[in-house]
Symmetry: C2
Subunit: 701 residues, 2 copies
């Protein structure tokens, strides 16, 4: 075969490709999908029971020995390995910590499926890179200045009847007291709300059982409404707070106009959980630093770490949110920075705020699936303390107080509301639940997960005595939160538990002084002491704080937008979206409108000519309808990159303030002719009369 013949093959192929570019790519995808389906079908066929022959055992043993695997390793591998094309059973939605994002992992494979940009602009997703008036930047403004990152802490899946319903995900930004709303149809952030009272928060986002409200609790007390007061006036002028963000499920947005907050004493409010079932209608919220220590190590005072840890007891806040809602409805609020706040005197007078003691520097408060108990882990106490909601209700009704705090909040008598204390180990932080009547508590100082038994109606579910430690599994290292499958919902699944270790130290190849975190997967499918770690997944993209694990089949994810010309922010077809055949560039004075379409493998138009200083409104519709046929669109040198998912419409504006010749191109590798999916933005300099030429030009000679 000579070279010329071969080139003809190439030309024929090229002609075929060029004849119908869209068809080409769609067809290829169909073939590829077919191949994928074939593989998965054969997986299913082979689901007929496997019986290993001696030769197969020998082969497997040989491979295991070549990599020094033992029997436990092989079992762990078999429990977690997810074959090519097979889907995971659960999705783990995890905060991304200081990355400002949310991460989604598959379980049991533990593979990071996707990052979802929330508080930090992210260019792959085209999030915050849409020109001069980008919506994301607008929403990220605080006091008129952009704050382009977040410290995401607690993801909260929307719930119906205390069960994850798979519709929305809420996520809090501790650093800047913001809440983000993610629509789980397209996994994109639709709204960011800044708390008008405090700069930073901690105890959000948690939802009430039907997602009536998203709860955001404070942390470091400040002067509400971003105010100033000298630290000497701490007790007088600093305050804590809890905010109730009203969620409008139909609109998929927080309705700020129906939201309100409660003033709280300047303790450092920490985590919160909404009651459900037996405790429906309550919010439980921990606090620490009831000492109201103000630090000042530089002046010889005890540092915060010591001052805030002096007392044996802090206060759990018990809030009847329906009564609070009624007070807000009745206008019993003070406006602070334009936001309605129920003041302490109202909460006390109307009887919907109580405290009860909790040992010591508490961190997690977690409501059992049936709603009957609240489990508090005091991080400087080796026990978890379990409270009974029935006892709480009775104590409130009976006004069984042991006194009140300096702000007048009544304190329910500890012994009257406490159900049990279970010694679990050093540094207990957070608790999750399974389907077998076990609770699981993270032990930061022990670097372990404790399994212990619940009492009450859970007693019959497992062989052990109630309120007893059953076993501990070491984790590596310094576990913070943990998450079991649907483990904070009304019906946990058991099966899997994630240990979110804060330090990985030596567990992975070193990655510089900044090391990944370690997500360890524990098999909690058995009872008793059998609770092995079966996978370690480094997380080197942020320090996740908390996560929730939802059964994958609850998610009704879109993979292609419903109609061509879809406005993903508004979740509707946008009449402004350019249609195929209506592309072009029009001018009105110095305002230029670009109407563009994108399909494999070209943008139309391919040239956009403007004058230096023009204001450009640029609209692009992806006319793709095939799954995964995403295009990117960037303009080199201008800070612009979009992600145009199948059928999506995007509009952006910018001032073409720098003359020159700027290539634009598709930034998602979309097709064989992806590199050719490009064009030029020509920005003609002011006052230009003739084009410059290079000395060496020999073209055309």
């Amino acid at each position: 075969m000579n070279a010329r013949f071969r080139f003809r093959i190439g030309s024929a192929l090229a002609a075929m490709l060029l004849a119908g570019v869209a068809i080409e790519a769609t067809t290829l995808t169909a073939e590829a999908q077919q191949e994928g389906r074939r593989r998965r079908r054969s997986d299913a066929q082979e689901a007929a029971p496997l019986e290993l022959t001696p030769a197969q055992v020998a082969k497997l043993t040989e491979v295991a020995n070549s990599r020094s695997l033992n029997m436990d390793d092989l079992l762990s591998a078999a429990k977690t390995f997810t074959p090519s094309g097979r889907h995971d059973e659960y999705v783990l939605f995890s905060s991304g910590g200081q990355s400002g994002q949310v991460f989604a992992f598959g379980v049991p494979s533990m593979r990071l499926l996707r990052s979802i940009a929330v508080f930090t602009p992210e260019s792959w997703q085209g999030y915050g890179f849409g020109g001069d008036n980008d919506r994301v930047h607008e929403e990220l403004m605080i006091n008129g200045k952009p704050v382009l990152w977040g410290d995401t802490h607690h993801p909260g899946l929307s719930e119906t009847g205390g069960e994850y319903d798979g519709q929305f995900l809420f996520i809090s930004d501790k650093a800047n007291a913001r809440v983000g709303v993610i629509d789980l149809r397209d996994w994109e952030t639709k709204q960011i709300v800044k708390n008008p009272l405090t700069i930073s928060d901690h105890g959000g986002s948690f939802v009430t059982p039907n997602t009536e409200y998203i709860i955001e609790g404070g942390q470091y007390a400040t002067v509400l409404g971003y105010g100033y007061a000298p630290i000497e006036d701490y007790q007088k002028s600093y305050r804590g707070m809890v905010t109730f963000w009203k969620f409008d499920r139909a609109k998929g947005r927080i309705d700020v106009s129906k939201s309100f907050a409660m003033e709280l004493p300047p303790y450092w409010q920490d985590l919160s959980d909404a009651g459900k079932g037996a405790s429906d209608g309550f919010i439980f919220m921990n606090s620490f630093n009831v000492e109201m220590a103000t630090g000042g190590i530089e002046d010889g005072n005890p540092p915060f770490e010591a001052g805030a840890s002096k007392r044996d007891m802090d206060y759990m806040h018990i809030i009847d949110w329906r009564k609070a809602e009624a007070a807000f409805g009745a206008g019993k609020v003070k406006m602070i920075n334009g936001f309605p706040v129920i003041m302490l005197e109202t909460s006390i007078a109307d009887g919907f705020l109580h405290f009860t003691p909790e040992p010591k520097s508490p961190h997690g408060v977690d409501v059992t699936p049936n709603g009957q108990f609240m489990v508090v882990a005091g991080k400087l106490d080796p026990h978890v303390t379990v409270y009974s909601v029935a006892k709480v209700k009775k104590a409130i009704a009976d006004k069984k107080y042991s006194g009140s705090d300096v702000y007048g909040v009544p304190i329910l008598d500890f012994d009257s509301v406490m159900e049990a204390q279970v010694e679990v180990g050093l540094g207990p932080l957070h608790t999750q639940f399974d389907d077998k009547g076990y609770a699981y508590t993270s032990l930061f100082l022990d670097s372990a997960v404790a399994r212990w038994t619940l009492g009450g109606e859970y007693e019959a579910k497992n062989p052990e005595q109630p309120w007893k430690l059953v076993t501990k599994t070491p984790v590596q290292y310094n576990i913070g939160h943990l998450a079991a499958a649907e483990g904070d919902s009304a019906s946990p699944d058991g099966k899997y538990l994630i240990s979110m270790a804060k330090w990985s130290v030596d567990r992975f190849l070193p990655t510089g002084p900044l090391l990944p975190q370690n997500f360890q997967l524990l098999d909690i499918g058995s009872t008793g002491t059998d609770m092995p770690v079966i996978y370690d997944m480094p997380v080197g993209v942020g320090e996740p704080h908390y996560c929730q694990m939802i059964k994958a089949d609850k998610l009704k994810t879109w993979t292609v937008y419903p109609e061509i010309g879809w406005n993903a922010h508004e979740q509707r077809m946008d009449p402004k979206a350019p249609k195929s055949g209506s592309e072009g560039v029009t001018r009105d004075g110095t305002n230029v409108l670009v109407n563009m379409t994108a399909i494999r493998s070209h943008f139309k138009p391919e040239h956009v000519e403007v004058n230096e200083g023009d204001t450009i409104t640029w609209r692009i519709t992806s006319t793709e309808t095939a799954i995964d046929a995403t295009h990117g669109f960037c303009i080199g040198g201008y800070n612009i990159n979009l992600s145009l998912e199948p059928s999506e419409f995007v509009e952006f504006t910018f001032v073409a303030d720098r003359a020159g010749t700027y290539p634009f191109y598709c930034t998602e590798f979309c097709s064989a002719l992806h590199l050719e999916m490009a064009g030029y933005l020509h920005v003609k300099p002011k006052g230009l009369t003739a084009a410059p030429a290079l000395d060496s030009v020999q073209a055309g000679k």
Copy 2:
């Protein structure tokens, strides 16, 4: 046991913790490390050959059946599962595509170990969130405006003698024609250089065999120096280019003053590779669109995808870089936008630029490990074309030309330099090599990896005939680049190969319309047709473009900075770093200097009082020396977050232009009292006389 007693345990623990916070954490870490070592030792002990008992086989079969795994799945699991605490054998440094970052994966586990921020600010790493004069933002300016993202394409590991030496990693930004320099001691970006000639690039970063130069090739032709010319003047005024960035290994920086470029015709230069061994001294660079098509679908012209694909042949550029270096040394340059450029007439006259035809719309050009052959994949031709460097040298010496292009560049006769053509399949893009004389080519349209045999001195290494296709393995879907273990170096390892699929379609749980990419791991340890896919890893944090896989033990990574007070940008101890005992806040007019230290679990000072409008210079030294004892530092509401790795010193400046009370806190969960590692920035409003108080204040009553 009564509650009071339990609280005493808590108090004793708290006292212990508070007595010596640093010691506490170090001790805990030591214990945790011991546990880790124990686990790994026991792994080693169990490296004594495993023999599976019938009961163990039964257990393994039971688990496999519960998850519908077949024998191939179990083998793949055993080949990839990496037990808790065990390190991976290779590190895969991957571009992050439009995320603007670099990602590091472990192989064979395929776990994402870490992201390294390069062109896009990233808050977890504190990269670009250091106040008003952040170095990263300065370096990311283009024409005086921030361009805060990149489209990272080709990572290039530094080399010595054509082998990865593990010292540096270079990464290109296609969208904005920039090159980043990462120091692999601490895995941080140290320098970003903007190309002064073109807005966007493609064919970088590739190094010469001893990292003398980092090569950056262009792509979409523009008017060099960010100029403007109407598209009608394309052939006269638009140009391609290749830039040679001189690397100063001792300083760990590109030396711009010793760097230069070459003017090239306005073809779209594509990938390049440096010769080594037999071809040392050459650069080989593909091009396409030698048609010089200028698109214009909106005017009824053929779109770029068609116009740029008309001809059967494009031109491989063959550059003798030592001769080019000599021309630059001799001053045979023209300054364009302040940068020395060797013009085409010089390159032609001095005989260091030649072309040779290459079929058709070529993408990859890859030099064999011995340097004797260059493999070109023409993406619209089903063959790879292999060129012999010996023949190229002879053709140059003999002036064996088939003509010259319109710019006068001599074209070496194709048949005189071509060694072989191998039919591999549809859409060949890139080629890598192993230790057994095989080459591996990605097939975009086939969605497959082809294994084929090299000739010449490689013939003896495998059983097959030379220059023949051996087998193809389907991959899912639309593979772009691929990377074998050290597969583009002078001595590839074989063993593992990564297929970088552009589309995942249905392979993973859907993640909205934006789906992850798919990194598939192929076992290439055998010969012949045995080349299975053994792992699928979704990559949902960007679209990686190319990656390189280095043996992990070549990296000499720091996990703690060498001295307390380390300036990581300069890689030296910084005399400005505050020392323990020298903390404080000092004022000079409206300039405030904060000297702070950070250690578990407090910042010192804990209060910083300034006036609205003050300019703050804030210096923090982490006095930690334990591995993984990283602290974060954020100021809520001000766009500031730092990553303070063990012993690191960081300085930042900002104007305190918003009055109020701003909590600062540690954003890395560092210790049991991490939440207490906090303080306040008090920004006193202008003209304030008295502090505001809330109506409801009852404190002190």
